[in-house]
Symmetry: D2
Subunit: 251 residues, 4 copies
């Protein structure tokens, strides 16, 4: 039986990344349509046939080799936040910020409000949760991961987001590729809005180094349909992710 | 200390309701700004002063006296859904549709896919959950309400939404006013997308009768900030809602 | 025969103006729907009946008593303009900026690029064109008004917009009310994007003084459908505009 | 001196076309950013260096081999048009629909309102205007092309759009590639909204045959910045367009 799918496997150019080359193929050939969701992500829709099918998405993307950091960047008062960031203050499926206010205050107690709070949250998560190699078949939420004491990159990001929001700092999920990740796979991290712009934080990594390609962003993993499938389950028999540096590609 | 707030207390005209007259006032006078969120809701932002303040929003709205029903309206296959309805398939903060698939199938087992499934879900909720007069200070989710066995209108709506989505039926939260509600208060219900359009369902009510004014809609209560407050809690010392029929109003 | 109409007669709240009270009525009663156009304007649609009909729109709007001015505010290089301002660089129906480059350079020859150029353009228009009391039944364009040597406020605004755009300064049309205008009527002026934000300019007025309520904005009058009618012409037998200051209104 | 540019040279996937492979390069290497305009077009921004530079955009796009036609498809009354089509009723820079009502009625006098009117307009343009091989350095408008009696594909499209809008039929400009065009170049045609959807019309072609790839759409050429340049003019020393069929590409 055919199975409808929504995918988010094609990075798009914006002001932060430039897709110089792009290739997306499906066997057997079948109709694919693309639409832009409410976050500006470019999602692909298709009806996966019964039996096996293959999908390959490959892009050459020019990105900076690292991310900007801004210790001391100040907290933006809620009344001064740009209207388009306000939705990232609300709790979402996997980020129960309405249940974590006490913990966030404890973690960030003596930090300067803003960037330093988010940095402290990110470091605390890395210190406190054990990293799991295998993700759960069913995603768990920030509170569930916290209670269990471990998680994958997605869970670490969810917890970071939930803790930020509980302090009235807008925070959002990013799913994409990180150059140099070992073993290579899709990766998830988050961004927080402090000092008037979004900054990258990655609680599963000791440093923020490495070129990052964004596939999509949203309030949490429920909004970033990298691979969403409806009806009878599709079993990915094999998924390979590789990220390589192109010689001379960086300006 | 002042407290930033986001409110959603002003119905706006669209193709379904016409605001003929509108009045919105705050004492003491303070700056208010309005913005449109990603759902098209018109939200008000203000910085509530320390101490008490008063807010009054009053509108004359022309709406149909009842809602359309469509027994038999068919399920729309995911691949045929309009792109803008797809976000209402994903789980959200208070609607853990990813945990309720089994229950939804059980409830709707012998229904025609589509409107009749949603109707069965709505009736099942009404039959199964006890209605609570008082809402919790902290909102609970669909699964939490289900486990507890009772809830307010918001919880009934969340559960309806979550069960629909688990069947791949887009469903969204509506917050507004229902004429004739006893005791009068803000009310919450939901809409499901079947047969090519959105239909109203209200699991707290035996019938769908009564004129309904929509204040806002979204994926769940987290997206419909009727009264959201940041920082030190603002205690509503008194909240009065009244809905009256205007003589000779147009139906 | 009935005649479809699009109207833009209802100011809406945003960060610059607050609609405290609002009233909109039509006799005989007929269905009206409201939609938001691509600029965020709230437009009303209705099917005007054959014969005469009456329409009244009335609002209490809180606005600042004057507009900000910023002599010296610098020109923003095209490559640094926010993406959402770029559409205001293109020529439009009544603003043939592609034909006015030479004139704009002449007028602004020795000005500091930016605010001062727009100010010089505005002053030049006021000095050069004669003000007409009566508007043409068919709108004329900036170039046509320039050739004829006179125009109404709409034409003055169109010419200001066209000249700005020919210098790569984003400029847009505003239609609304100006307190103290003699005789009172709907008014049109324009905004230019310099120094990182939009500033008001009004080439029909010696000063920028006076409280201004915005009904709508767009690239030119073709985009601001204050009163657009399709099919057999509707003859406004009488149109009255009044603007009054409310005692004790907030500034 | 460097020259800011906006380009629209990269087709994107949607429900009507699928970009399977894509390549976009600039020499010398320089930063490019992409943004989505108000029509959903993906535009590229860059600062072209002084001296010469090279740009190459190349895509494999899967499209139907022809376009749908619908003789008899009815006119949609203005009051029934979807809100998002209404902007395509207004006159625009190169489509002075407000000046062409009489001519449009004459051309379509005995046609069934709707598709047949647009077809008659398209045929009339092809019959009446001489096709020019070379476009003007400065674009002319529909009325100017009509008065002169000739034009390029862009002018034919503008005139078709203007005539449709004067009959209250929404019409929009499409710029893209047409397989088999001789000599190959960028092409422009238009779409009209009749019978509840957009249909393709191409007044420069005897038939609608041929695979069409859309680069962008808008109200007229001013909105579709295939190649827009600000400041000192950039002289394209050479522009090559080629469109080839990929063997076995069509499903």
């Amino acid at each position: 039986m055919a199975s409808p799918m929504i995918l988010l496997l094609r990075p798009h150019s914006d002001t932060r990344q430039w897709v110089a080359r792009d290739h997306y193929a499906v066997w057997p050939g079948l109709p694919i349509a693309e639409y832009t969701d409410m976050y500006g992500n470019r999602c692909q829709r298709l009806l996966a046939p019964a039996g096996s099918f293959h999908l390959e998405a490959c892009s050459d993307v020019q990105v900076p080799s690292g991310v900007e950091q801004a210790p001391g960047a100040p907290f933006v008062e809620v009344q001064d936040l740009p209207a388009e960031t306000l939705m990232y203050l609300a709790p979402s499926r996997y980020c129960e910020s309405d249940r974590l206010g006490g913990l966030a205050s404890e973690i960030t107690g003596d930090c300067l409000p803003g960037y330093d709070q988010v940095h402290a949250i990110s470091a605390w998560i890395r210190r406190t949760l054990a990293y799991r190699a295998e993700s759960d078949p069913t995603p768990v939420s920030a509170v569930e991961a916290l209670n269990r004491g471990d998680g994958v990159c997605r869970d670490f990001a969810h917890l970071g987001i939930a803790l930020c929001r509980s302090l009235s700092i807008p925070a959002r999920m990013i799913v994409g590729y990180l150059h140099g990740l070992e073993p290579m796979d899709l990766h998830a991290w988050f961004e927080a809005f402090v000092g008037g712009r979004w900054y990258v934080f990655d609680p599963t990594r000791a440093t923020l180094g490495g070129a990052r390609v964004c596939l999509g962003h949203g309030r949490d993993a429920a909004d970033v349909p990298v691979f969403t499938q409806f009806g009878p389950p599709v079993i990915p028999s094999c998924m390979k992710v590789s990220v390589e540096e192109i010689a001379g590609s960086q300006h």
